[in-house]
């Protein structure tokens, strides 16, 4: 996909730019960087630790984000699946089955998914609708913590921890209220792919 490749290239260029001279790396700047770099494809690896299972389950695949609101997650392992979040509509396809959900009807799932989309989009408003943000680290290596501010979200999420460098997100780590945990790691996709 050519435009996507272009955006990726742009992302990589942006990521290697020297950090700005000033030392104060603010949420606003982070969001601007994220928004500027938004779009394109990344590979992901997700490790889910679930209480009922003795070991973590791992899935791999690719995520595509098309600003402002379309997030696609194509899982290759352990089984093929496509999840598309477009605006308020979430549709999941697997095994020839098709589920359609509306995020409004599932506010808790919505908060989780929106935290990923909001981060990738650099959408501070969307993030702050459900979370309190705190930023640490430098432009080159920042850490963003999302603490639920909406009590309904707090029912299922303890905290979300995001790490990255400039406009690139490297890790989203979601700790759920029931102790289950999901760690999503992103790596840029080689341009030749």
């Amino acid at each position: 996909m050519k435009p996507a490749a272009l955006i990726c290239a742009l992302m990589l260029v942006l990521a290697t730019l020297p950090a700005a001279a000033d030392t104060s790396w603010t949420v606003d700047e982070l969001m601007r960087s994220l928004a500027a770099a938004a779009g394109g494809r990344v590979a992901f690896v997700e490790r889910k630790s679930i209480a009922i299972l003795d070991e973590a389950v791992v899935s791999r695949g690719e995520m595509r984000f098309t600003p402002p609101a379309r997030l696609e997650r194509l899982t290759r392992e352990p089984s093929e699946e496509s999840m598309v979040l477009d605006g308020d509509r979430l549709s999941i396809r697997r095994d020839g089955r098709h589920f359609d959900l509306e995020l409004r009807n599932h506010p808790q799932a919505a908060a989780l998914i929106d935290s990923i989309r909001g981060t990738l989009a650099g959408d501070r408003e969307a993030l702050e609708a459900s979370f309190a943000l705190s930023l640490a680290g430098s432009r080159q290596a920042w850490r963003l913590d999302l603490l639920p501010s909406d009590p309904r979200v707090a029912e299922i999420v303890l905290r979300i921890h995001v790490e990255g460098s400039a406009g690139r997100v490297a890790l989203i780590d979601i700790l759920q209220a029931d102790g289950d945990r999901s760690q999503l790691r992103f790596t840029p996709i080689d341009r030749s792919e």
């Binding site: 679930i50 299972l53 089984s79 999840m83 359609d100 009807n105």
Partner: protein, 783 residues
């Protein structure tokens, strides 16, 4: 004039009895009377099903205007109010509010309901596959949704059950509630408690719906929003209102016109009142006769009462104007013959397959007979001494000249009639409407709104149905289950897009029993789980909830229709599994594949063959649109035979009475010309003929023969009746025009069709009769 008080007293007694009877008569205005009685038992049952079944209780609701959030808020507020309203059995707007209870029920009964449950699935290998699959799903984006299920449902039967239930694709959502695909309307689907046949109940429900919408709109301060409602109930209520209003309005117009006309002619209020005596007697007798025979009187029948006024008042007119001056015996003979020919015409309606038309026939026959008897025997005793209506002989004399002049136009008139016949012959393939909908008083705009909301909601149009009938609910469900493989094949071949089945909502006890038998006991299950989870990150000890649930399902009582009573599932089941006269019908609606060209037709023959090949007893495939087309065609044929029968009867009566084929021909030909001309004009105006136009043509003959009789029995000198008779014929003709003509203004097709033919047709009948009877002195050769 000889007075006979006994007769007057007797008449008053009969009238009083009629009034008492009328008070007790039930009046209806629902449409079914003007839909044909169905010819086959199969179709009759089906129509009942659709009329009284759940389908008839659906109200489709749309909210338009403002923005999506406002519409969604209105939808939520309305749904909330309506759910507490006794008018509605169920309300769904897609907000998922009642879904919790439904999901709970499905979860609780998943091992009886899931089509995936069999011995293989509960073997060690089957369980292993299912659990492996579940773990994969946990890793996926949908993991969150299934995580709460795993401990009790590691094979995820809940999802299988939900999928089976969601097979019918509901509408999409916007802002959390159902919305049309283009996002411009919020949608709700309500089911009324009242049946479709209960028009009052439907009306109350629709009014409540409107009130709920208004209240919600006020509370939310929403501006510029509109409520759209459609459904069988809306059609029924609107049709009834239309019929009621039009019957009232047109009766008033017709009666006013006739009364004004008569006042103008008689110049005597007494004469007008006396003239009404036969009309009122006839109308009351008609109502009583219809009430006694049919059990109820339809609003439209009353609407035709106007036409009876137009006919019955003629007798009084003849009586006032001619009865005193002319040879009385001859006068009454002519009148009697006229009544008999009219009775022959209306009598043809009696055998009609439309209960409404049969009512009309009986009403007119009883009414005319009553009016005629009143005129003959009562009116002479009621007339005050020295009573005299305004002399109309001068009017009649003034008429003679134009009539004689018009007679010279005989040849052009004959040519016109021939041209009309040729035109009709040339148009013969396009003359007739072939759809039952031609008789529907539902305006096209309302039909369009209905189609739009139906498409929005993805509501089945129930055009294509497979119906399996059996002696018990269980057997009907089993037959529905047996049909599934054949239907799945049809879906695979793309011949149908989808189908629904009551067995999806409630499997037969037989199937439930097989599933129950496939469930292992607790010890066996634990052993198998041990093997199934080997090498997987899920320890069997975590699945004790599952073991307990399976053990409970093994001992659970099987589900029957009563298990889902009152629930959303029960409501859905009620639409598809219907008890009827001690038998049970399983309805499996098919939806046609959507083609790009918008064509929604199914290959009915291929499907009928596939269903027949499935070999399920007492199972048929029905295309309702085709059935109704055939029903209509049948009724048109029947109307033709009735009309021909009526014409034959009239001819026979005339032949016996006049004893001369020539005179009968002289009488009948002008009438035939009149019928041809008015029919051609109606067709030229762009109307397609329905069987009610045909009935109208018959009535032109029946009514017109009354006028024609006075001509063929007339003074041979100039071929015209006496001047006062001529005048009375003109007046009677004008009242007929008023009575029938106003019906042509009606938007109810049944009334319009008859009015538009009979009103002008009667005028033509008189004109042609006069033209061909008159013998201008310079034209002695005319026969």
């Amino acid at each position: 004039m000889k007075r006979r008080p006994v007769i007057v007293v007797l008449w008053l007694l009969v009238l009083a009895a009629c009034i008492a009877g009328t008070v007790r008569t039930r009046f209806t205005a629902d449409l079914s009377a003007f839909l044909p009685r169905t010819p086959t038992e199969q179709q009759a049952l089906l129509v009942d099903l659709l009329r009284d079944g759940l389908v008839s209780r659906l109200l489709m609701v749309g909210i338009e205007g403002a923005d999506g959030d406002t519409r969604a808020a209105l939808s939520r507020r309305m749904a909330e109010t309506m759910r507490g309203d006794a008018h509605f059995a169920s309300v769904n707007n897609g907000d998922g509010s009642h879904a919790d209870a439904e999901r709970r029920w499905l979860f609780d009964h998943r091992y009886l309901l899931s089509p995936a449950v069999d011995a293989q699935r509960f073997s060690a290998a089957g369980l292993g596959d299912a659990i492996g699959h579940t773990i994969d799903l946990l890793a996926s984006s949908a993991g969150m949704l299934v995580k709460p299920l795993i401990a009790r449902d590691p094979t995820l039967e809940t999802l299988n059950v939900l999928e089976t239930f969601d097979a019918g694709s509901g509408p999409g959502s916007l802002a959390g509630v159902w919305a049309s695909a283009d996002g411009r309307r919020a949608l709700l689907l309500a089911t009324t408690r009242a049946t479709g046949a209960d028009t009052d109940g439907q009306q109350a429900a629709i009014a409540a719906l409107q009130a709920d919408f208004d209240a919600a709109r006020r509370q939310l301060g929403a501006e510029g929003v509109a409520l759209l409602v459609s459904g069988p109930g809306v059609f029924a209520v609107d049709a009834r209102d239309t019929i009621r209003n039009e019957v009232k309005r047109l009766s008033l117009i017709g009666a006013t016109l006739i009364a004004s006309l008569l006042l103008l002619i008689y110049r005597s209020a007494t004469a007008l009142l006396l003239g009404l005596a036969p009309v009122v007697s006839g109308a009351l007798l008609g109502i009583i006769a219809v009430g006694l025979v049919f059990g109820e009187v339809h609003g439209i029948t009353l609407g035709f009462g106007i036409t009876l006024i137009g006919e019955a008042i003629d007798y009084a007119i003849y009586f006032f104007i001619q009865g005193t001056t002319r040879n009385r015996d001859e006068f009454w003979r002519t009148i009697r013959l006229g009544v008999i020919t009219s009775l022959c015409g209306f009598g043809a309606l009696l055998v009609s397959g439309f209960p409404g038309l049969a009512q009309l026939g009986l009403y007119s026959m009883a009414g005319l007979t009553g009016a005629m008897l009143t005129t003959r025997y009562v009116l002479p005793s009621l007339v005050p001494a020295g009573f005299q209506v305004h002399d109309v002989a001068p009017l009649g004399r003034r008429l003679v000249r134009p009539v004689l002049a018009a007679a010279r136009l005989r040849l052009p008139a004959a040519l016109l009639a021939v041209a009309a016949v040729l035109f009709l012959w040339q148009q013969r393939d396009r003359l007739w409407h072939h759809e039952l909908s031609a008789l529907s008083p539902v305006p096209v705009a309302a039909q369009r709104l209905d189609a739009m909301l139906r498409a929005d909601l993805g509501a089945p149009d129930n055009r294509y149905l497979v119906v399996a009938t059996a002696d018990s609910a269980e057997l009907a469900l089993r037959r529905a289950e047996t049909l599934a493989p054949a239907l799945d094949r049809l879906r695979g071949q793309g011949l149908i897009a989808a189908y629904d089945s009551p067995a999806r909502l409630l499997p037969s006890r037989h199937s439930q029993g097989l599933r129950q038998a496939a469930l292992p006991d607790a010890e066996t299950l634990r052993d198998r789980l041990q093997q199934a989870t080997a090498g997987r990150p899920l320890r069997p000890s975590r699945l004790e909830g599952f073991v307990a649930d399976v053990a409970a399902a093994r001992a659970a009582p099987l589900l029957g229709p009563s298990s889902v009573d009152g629930s959303v599932i029960g409501l859905a089941l009620e639409a598809l599994l219907i008890p009827q006269q001690g038998r049970w019908r399983a309805l499996l609606p098919l939806s046609a594949p959507r083609h790009d060209d918008g064509d929604h037709d199914l290959d009915a023959a291929a499907i009928a063959t596939a269903i027949a090949d499935a070999g399920v007893p007492e199972t048929v495939f029905i295309d309702l649109a085709e059935e109704s087309r055939q029903m209509y065609a049948g009724y048109l044929r029947e109307a033709w035979s009735a009309a021909l029968g009526g014409v034959t009867a009239i001819l026979l009566v005339l032949l016996v009475a006049l004893r001369s084929p020539q005179r009968v021909l002289a009488l009948v030909l002008p009438l035939a010309a009149a019928v041809a001309l008015i029919t051609a004009l109606v067709v030229l105006a762009g109307e397609r003929l329905t069987l009610l136009h045909l009935v109208g043509m018959l009535l032109v003959g029946a009514v017109g023969s009354n006028y024609a009789l006075f001509f063929v029995t007339a003074d041979p000198a100039d071929g015209l009746p006496r001047p006062e008779t001529l005048a009375s014929l003109l007046i009677a003709n004008l009242t007929t025009l008023c009575g029938f003509g106003v019906l042509a203004l009606s938007s109810v097709p049944v009334m319009h069709a008859i009015g538009v033919i009979v009103g002008p047709g009667a005028i033509f009948a008189l004109c042609f009769s006069a033209m061909f009877a008159a013998r201008p002195r310079d034209d002695p050769g005319a026969a």
